[in-house]
């Protein structure tokens, strides 16, 4: 690949020259990036891309001389400005660290090459130390240093690792600083040219990629303006502008000398590494003014150097107007001489530029780590160039050792952004440099941060290189050449079963007596003074009989449930309010009004042919007293055993009063979340909650099952978990522990067959202070065993699980893990990651552990979406999660029998609701139609034709009823007509008969006719009464 490129060099060059004038006109085009709003995170080209890099893509890693070499004064090396800077406390060196030894790469360079070999990289990017080669800046080269770099290059060649060599990575010989004032002086142009020519001449035979200098922006600004870097001058903008001007011209000189003297024989490429940050318009609003500021921000950093070199040979207009006469000018000859002096675009994108960008040149906009958008900007601004990511990566705190979990995800994210830029945006990126190979001296951060793929213990004299987990991950990416789809792409086929619950999940149903229809409740008769003052006066002494209040008087019920029927769901899950029904906690006060309201809801549901699933106790964190009656809460809540007894009484009341209409009961919703609230006594709370459920279940079985035949369960919060760092056993264990703690803690005592004799390895996994997480007496165990009719799970997302970092204090009852989120997963506004495959894995895990006998019902699942109507994220969630549910049913044999979408309606602003809030007119969002389609097709519409489900006997009867109900008027009319005709006929016959038989039996005939009239009723009232 490399050789191929070098052969095409001249042709390429010719093309570039031809296309040059086009490139000019592109300047300023970069702003187009911001003008279009960024598409949502779930659009195809924004999601994590499972694909490989183009064949021949170069993978590498890099270091710089000063950061890693050490041996600052060994073998005739001269001091660099950084040596001077770090040795003097009066300079701006803030950490006090020196790089005298650093990673000691000068002595351990062979281990560096071994590390590269371990990674399986294609190239190594390193820098030559100018003061090591020329201790006096120029003149006689240091033969030992030449030998060192020759050996390094030879060894790399042996290992088939291509070198990418930087001439100047900030370590200017100190003598040049002292003699000339460093890069402020244009004398350095000639000296740099001389140094470059020497390097090209000496090493050029083995080098195809040369970098003249690394990140001149940071050299100019941090070195001469802020003084944070060597030489630590705080000369202000005027000085940094001059320094930059000299750096650009020095680079051009080096390029020209290579182009003229070395390219014909060596055929390599020369470029300069430019660093940049990235910005997005403030608050995501791309107003013209903000777009201009974004453009200016990037021009002030990247454009400063890229515009002369890759653009029109001059500084960006925005820089000229900003700095006026302070900005040095290129002469017309210089412009032509400077432009196109780079054979590819080399980009550095890392913490140094992003942090400085955030501090100095954000122009009020938001600095973001969006490498992909920056690459697009470069393409728009400077044309279709070949791009090398010459420095990519972030940093870890120094305390992070080899287990650098977060670095893995940052690498994943950055490299995937590059892949997206290649595949979707057409940016020609040809290589990626993971920065850096080994931990080293991190400039102004000293040793407080680490950027290496290999860990170096700076207190150890031999500076052993140990691969971090991010090195293992990088190796994996290189081996696979990207992120190919590793999961076998199972196709979701088939349909959901006919009996599948298509549900909506709601929280505690608000009991709303108002608005209330007051008709027929006012017993007075009024006179209306219509022509006079218009007032109403009750007529004294007259009292009308009033009607009993009816379910239809609660206008809220109908308004709420009408939304349900418009989706076409078969099931509706809602919760009762314990503290409302039993305000005192016991039966001393029973709120019969509330019970009546709930009864009305249940009746209305049955009229709508929607099956209710009723949660008896629905705790909520923000709710008053966590939804408990106040007395119970005050006496310790779930830490107090008497609450178990109180719950049993409450459940009995619910069964008694509402059981007729309920086929599915859920005793307690998410006891695993509730128990977590009790930071002290988590186990006690879990224990009591479990016992409360079991007792309520037993009670139902004993007293109500024979008549009501409902199924009773408890619903668990069931997110999926995977190890955050898949290279570490400890993370795998933590993920297992997570699942056992979240689900096993509650399900094992109820339906885990092996719970009593828990295998030893699981006890280890639980890692809890007691021998078992929850201890039960034999009697309790018996009561718990089997007390579950179906497995109810509320699933929302997948989490990364890692063990607690050892630094954090672990409180004993807490499970030993912490949760993280993968930043490459699309996520909602509330931070919920949308991970469809996790849903399937969770279902499979439950099935594996507890068998497929008990049905699983997902009693709550959904995502928040800010969109008031076009809820794209929720539509995606619904489609992708249901697709995984289908796979779970058909491919994994999961006995999944229901899916309840959380939830019906927003309370205020757009969040989880399928319908907007009442304040926003209860409008159906777009996902309602998606859900409705799913229900109609029992799956995806593009599948083969749906086998219609056979209606059950009850439903058939109901369909006849509903037909009759619809044609009520016609039926009545027809009935009456028939009757009348019959009567007429009878009358005629009767008249004829009476005429024949005279006037006998008049009394008898009368009564017979009356009897016939009464028959009118039964004919009309064949259907059940519709009044509630």
């Amino acid at each position: 690949m490399l050789i191929g490129i070098s052969r095409c060099q001249w042709l390429l060059h010719l093309l570039m020259v031809c296309g040059w004038h086009e490139v000019f006109s592109l300047l300023g085009e970069g702003r187009n990036i911001w003008q279009q709003p960024k598409p949502g995170s779930i659009t195809k080209d924004q999601q994590f891309l499972h694909d490989t890099f183009p064949p021949g893509f170069l993978w590498g890693s890099g270091t710089s001389a000063f950061q890693t070499e050490g041996a600052w004064d060994k073998n005739g090396k001269g001091a660099s400005i950084w040596d001077h800077f770090t040795h003097n406390s009066f300079t701006g060196n803030m950490t006090g660290d020196t790089a005298d030894v650093a990673s000691d790469s000068y002595n351990h360079w062979k281990e560096d090459i071994e590390a590269l070999h371990h990674l399986n990289v294609g190239f190594y990017s390193f820098s030559l130390s100018w003061p090591r080669l020329f201790p006096n800046g120029s003149g006689q080269p240091n033969a030992v240093a030449v030998k060192h770099y020759t050996n390094l290059l030879k060894k790399l060649q042996e290992k088939k690792i291509k070198p990418v060599v930087t001439l100047h990575h900030w370590d200017l010989p100190q003598v040049l600083q002292e003699q000339y004032g460093g890069w402020k002086n244009s004398t350095l142009l000639g000296l740099f040219e001389e140094y470059a020519a020497f390097c090209f001449h000496t090493f050029g035979r083995d080098v195809r990629y040369w970098i003249t200098m690394h990140n001149p922006y940071l050299m100019a600004v941090q070195g001469y303006e802020t003084g944070v870097h060597a030489p630590g001058e705080m000369g202000g903008t005027a000085v940094s502008l001059i320094v930059a001007h000299n750096l650009i011209r020095a680079h051009a000189k080096a390029w020209h000398i290579y182009n003229t003297n070395f390219r014909p024989t060596q055929g390599g490429k020369v470029s300069i590494v430019l660093g940049s940050h990235w910005v997005e318009p403030q608050r995501g609003q791309p107003t013209p003014a903000k777009v201009d500021l974004c453009q200016e921000s990037i021009e002030a950093v990247l454009g400063w150097f890229a515009s002369p070199i890759f653009g029109d040979g001059d500084y960006p207009a925005s820089l000229k107007s900003k700095h006026g006469s302070l900005l040095p000018m290129f002469t017309p000859e210089e412009k032509i001489w400077v432009q196109k002096t780079a054979d590819f675009f080399a980009l550095s994108f890392g913490p140094n530029n992003l942090r400085l960008g955030r501090d100095l040149i954000h122009y009020g906009q938001t600095v973001t780590p969006d490498l992909r958008r920056l690459l697009s900007w470069i393409r728009l601004e400077y044309g279709d160039l070949k791009v090398l990511i010459a420095e990519g990566g972030w940093f870890s705190e120094s305390s992070v050792g080899r287990e650098d979990t977060i670095a893995i995800y940052l690498m994943k994210s950055f490299i995937n952004q590059v892949l997206q830029a290649i595949r979707f945006d057409g940016v020609q990126v040809f290589g990626y440099t993971a920065w850096s190979l080994v931990d080293g001296y991190e400039w102004n951060y000293g040793y407080t941060v680490r950027r290496g793929l290999f860990y170096v213990d700076f207190s150890q004299p031999n500076r052993t290189r140990n691969p971090k987990t991010s090195a293992q991950y990088y190796r994996l990416i290189i081996t696979k050449n990207g992120f190919p789809q590793d999961e076998s792409a199972d196709v979701a086929k088939g349909h959901f079963p006919c009996t599948f619950h298509w549900g909506i999940a709601d929280s505690t149903l608000e009991v709303r007596y108002f608005p209330f229809s007051p008709q027929f409740t006012d017993p007075y008769l009024y006179t209306w003074n219509l022509t006079g003052d218009g007032s109403l006066h009750p007529v004294p002494g007259v009292e009308l009989s009033t009607r009993q209040t009816q379910c239809t008087d609660y206008l809220a019920i109908n308004g709420h449930l009408r939304l349900l029927s418009s989706i076409g769901v078969s099931h509706y899950r809602f919760a009762l309010n314990w503290s409302l029904i039993l305000p005192q906690g016991d039966h001393s006060v029973v709120n019969t009004e509330a019970l009546r309201y709930y009864r009305c809801v249940l009746k209305e549901l049955s009229r709508l042919n929607v099956e209710p699933v009723v949660i008896i106790y629905y705790p909520k964190h923000q709710a008053l007293n966590m939804g408990l009656p106040v007395q119970l809460y005050q006496s310790g809540g779930w830490l107090n055993e008497s609450t178990v007894e109180a719950f049993q009484q409450y459940a009995e009341l619910c069964y008694q009063e509402l059981g007729t209409w309920v086929q599915y009961w859920i005793t307690i919703n998410e006891p695993n979340r509730l128990a977590d609230i009790y930071t002290k006594g988590k186990h006690q709370a879990s224990h009591n909650l479990l016992m409360a459920h079991a007792k309520a279940w037993r009670l139902y079985e004993r007293k109500f099952y024979s008549q009501q035949r409902a199924k009773v369960s408890l619903a668990l919060h069931a997110d999926w978990a995977i190890p955050a760092n898949f290279f570490l056993e400890s993370h795998t264990t933590a993920a297992e522990r997570f699942l056992l703690f979240e689900l096993g803690r509650f399900l094992d005592p109820l339906i885990g067959p092996e719970y009593v004799n828990k295998p030893v390895n699981e006890a280890r996994v639980m890692d809890l202070p007691e021998s078992s997480p929850l201890s039960f007496t034999p009697a309790e165990r018996k009561e718990l065993k089997g007390a579950l009719d179906f497995i109810a799970l509320n699933h929302f997302t997948t989490r990364l699980v890692s063990p607690h970092p050892s630094t954090k204090q672990k409180t004993p009852p807490d499970p030993d893990y912490e949760v993280l989120s993968d930043p490459t997963w699309p996520s909602s506004r509330l931070g919920q990651a949308v991970v469809p495959w996790g849903f399937r894995r969770m279902l499979s895990w439950v099935t594996m552990r507890y068998g497929g006998t008990l049905p699983i019902i997902v009693t709550g699942s959904g995502v928040d979406d800010q969109a008031p109507a076009e809820d794209v994220l929720r539509q995606y969630y619904l489609r992708s999660y249901l697709k995984e549910a289908l796979k779970a049913i058909h491919l994994d044999g999961v006995n999944l029998q229901g899916f309840y979408m959380w939830k019906l309606q927003d309370r205020h602003n757009p969040q989880f609701g399928l319908f907007s809030s009442i304040h926003h007119q209860s409008k159906a969002k777009a996902s309602v139609a998606v859900y409705r389609e799913f229900i109609t097709n029992r799956g995806f519409s593009n599948n083969d034709t749906v086998q219609p489900c056979r209606l059950s006997a009850v439903q058939e009867l109901c369909s006849v009823c509903s037909w009759m109900f619809r044609h009520k008027a016609v039926l009545v009319f027809g009935g009456c007509l028939l009757l009348t005709l019959f009567m007429m006929a009878a009358l005629i016959i009767f008249v004829i008969i009476t005429k024949k038989n005279g006037m006998r039996g008049r009394e008898r005939r009368k009564s017979r006719r009356n009897r016939r009239r009464r028959k009118e009723g039964p004919i009309v009232c064949l259907c059940p009464s519709v009044d509630l």
């Binding site: 994210s413 007032s535 509730l674 993280l820 007119q921």
Partner: protein, 171 residues
């Protein structure tokens, strides 16, 4: 806070009041028997912090304030204690405006009763707005929220916590 328009109707048998509040502007109609009074002016409702609003006359620029004795009055200078009201959404769909500092409800009746809850004419019923003007609130793109370039956890991976939308639902 909310971007629709509301019509507040104060329901009672007689007299009753209708307050029409469109987006931020309010017109007060008072229907007393069959006489319709149109109060001169529009009221501006502004949220100062979650749940707390300031009510200001649009033409008079007077703030609606309540003093220590519970008397409502218009006042030209804004005082946080006296001129902010807590908007209380009642379970039945009505709202009450209570003085943030003193707790007196805004009532359209002269105050005779001492019991705050039985004080008449304090409940306002928000009705749906038939006029459409839903402005999409501009917020930063989702992926920019947790970014911290000073942290080694650049994307805020560690900000995840075990939250269930059921258990920790919207307030």
């Amino acid at each position: 806070k909310s971007d629709g328009c509301f019509i507040f109707i104060f329901t009672s048998f007689d007299p009753y009041y209708i307050i029409i509040i469109s987006e931020q502007l309010a017109v007060i109609f008072i229907l007393f028997s069959k006489h319709l009074f149109l109060f001169p002016g529009l009221l501006l409702l502004k949220s100062v912090k979650p749940g707390h609003t300031v009510i200001q006359g649009q033409t008079s620029s007077l703030f609606l304030c309540v003093d220590r004795a519970g008397h409502l009055r218009g006042q030209s200078h804004y005082s946080e204690d006296e001129c902010t009201f807590r908007e209380l959404l009642l379970a039945d769909g009505y709202t009450r405006f209570l003085s943030s500092h003193y707790g007196f409800p805004v009532s359209l009746a002269s105050r005779r009763s001492t019991d705050l809850h039985s004080l008449p004419f304090t409940r306002f019923l928000p009705l749906r707005n038939a006029l459409t003007s839903v402005s999409a609130s501009a917020t930063p793109p989702d992926d920019l929220r947790n970014i911290d370039v000073d942290s080694d956890d650049l994307f805020g991976m560690g900000l995840n916590s075990m939250i269930s939308p059921h258990f920790s639902a919207e307030k």
